[in-house]
């Protein structure tokens, strides 16, 4: 394991490794090829890439779309764990903090899966044990029958206070949206706290966290406007970045889309985000706005990783791009299974 000794060398080593890994991710034209293939052809193609090991290992137990789902999840979790092992010094702490979002994803997937009566094996296929909750803990949570026992199984989790406060209500009404909001708010509050603690490299991590909060808030804002949600929406926004929940709520109540974009542009400093917001002046569907903003976030992260080549940014860019590779492959496989046309699936890809 690389320790934080020996000056900048470990940072250079890790940043270069992850840059090479990023270069090995699937190129855009490969997705275009996949859109014109059948499901078995896609499985064969994925089996020839970085996912070969997982596809070979799991090929005897799963087949078809299940094989793709499990192989992608396993590969992603393995890759994330590997990056944690590689990251030196404070970067390890930042990487682990960043990956804690997968804990929330896993817990909510289990809760929602159980609520809808899915089989344990099926839920397990889509879990990605990349955060602080490992497979053993997730298996325990998966085996629990009722909500109180799920909360008990998560007693040692950092977010236990939030989950214990919100879980029973979620189970009673059968919706975990409020729990999800609260967990993510807590996650971002923790990330901001870690970034501001004065550890070396914290400023760079802070830039990433604030960019992510901004993008998330803007996505939420456009979704709400799209749905015509005019009530008090402050609880859906995350504080700690450019805009406060109150300011975003005011923007949500503005009548004109251009007015909202002007208000956002007045405060946003990131060039890439400014360009993307200008693009949003023309009416677009929620899905297009979402994809556009995600692409912008990735572009801006890429720029940051070039400005700060030996910081947390190259690691975060790789982690994010890897996540979207898996999301894209899953979307293509699921879309093909549902016999959707290539153009429709293409709209959901983040390339």
């Amino acid at each position: 394991m690389v320790q934080n000794s020996g000056g900048p060398a470990p940072y250079i080593y890790v940043s270069t490794r992850l840059r090479v890994r990023k270069a090995k991710l699937l190129p855009p034209e490969e997705y275009q090829r996949m859109l014109n293939m059948s499901l078995p052809e896609i499985i064969r193609l994925i089996g020839e890439t970085e996912y070969q090991k997982e596809v070979d290992e799991l090929g005897t137990s799963f087949e078809g779309i299940d094989l793709i789902e499990v192989a992608l999840s396993w590969n992603l979790a393995k890759e994330y764990q590997r990056v944690i092992e590689l990251a030196p010094g404070s970067l390890k702490e930042f990487t682990m903090a960043y990956l804690r979002r997968w804990d929330i994803y896993n817990v909510l997937t289990i809760l929602r899966g159980k609520m809808q009566g899915m089989k344990e094996g099926k839920i397990k296929e889509v879990l990605i044990p990349a955060g602080s909750l490992d497979r053993t803990i997730l298996d325990r949570v998966l085996a629990e029958e009722n909500c109180e026992r799920v909360a008990d199984a998560l007693k040692n989790w950092k977010m236990y206070p939030t989950i214990s406060a919100e879980l029973s209500e979620g189970c009673a009404i059968g919706s975990f949206a409020r729990l999800e909001n609260e967990l993510y708010k807590r996650l971002y509050a923790d990330l901001l706290q870690i970034a501001r603690r004065g550890v070396k490299g914290g400023n760079q991590f802070l830039k990433f966290v604030q960019l992510e909060i901004d993008v998330k808030n803007i996505k939420t804002l456009f979704r709400m406007r799209g749905d015509g949600y005019e009530e008090d929406a402050r609880e859906f926004f995350i504080s700690g970045a450019t805009f406060t929940p109150e300011e975003l709520q005011q923007m949500n109540q503005m009548a004109n889309r251009n007015e909202v974009i002007d208000a956002l542009l007045a405060r946003i400093k990131a060039k890439a985000l400014q360009v993307a917001l200008e693009d949003l002046r023309t009416e677009k569907s929620e899905q297009e706005v979402d994809t556009e903003l995600t692409k912008t976030q990735l572009d801006h992260m890429e720029q940051l990783s070039k400005i700060n080549p030996f910081s947390i940014h190259p690691i975060l860019v790789y982690l994010e791009k890897k996540k979207y590779e898996v999301v894209n492959l899953r979307a293509i496989a699921r879309g093909k299974e549902s016999r959707l046309p290539g153009e429709t699936i293409g709209k959901y890809l983040v390339i």
Binding site: G7, P8, A9, P10, I12, Y13, V14, S15, T16, R17, V20, R21, K24
Partner: protein, 83 residues
Amino acid sequence: MAAEIMTVEVAQASAAGLKAVGAGLAVGLAGIGSGLGEMGIGAAAMGAVAENKDMFGLALLFTVLPETIVIFGLVVALLLMFQ
């Protein structure tokens, strides 16, 4: 005063000594400089080779590029010592 008691032999000996110090500094400082340069390149090269073994030859070439600075230092040292 020192100037008054310095003989031709002493002056020749100290000139030879200063030449040796100069030659030593030329090689030594050039070595430290290349070492610092190679630290970054070496770390990046190891990272790249760890991910892709085909890069070994190119990585090795880039890692030893700063060695040329030491050769300049060595040439200066040799010139000083043997001219």
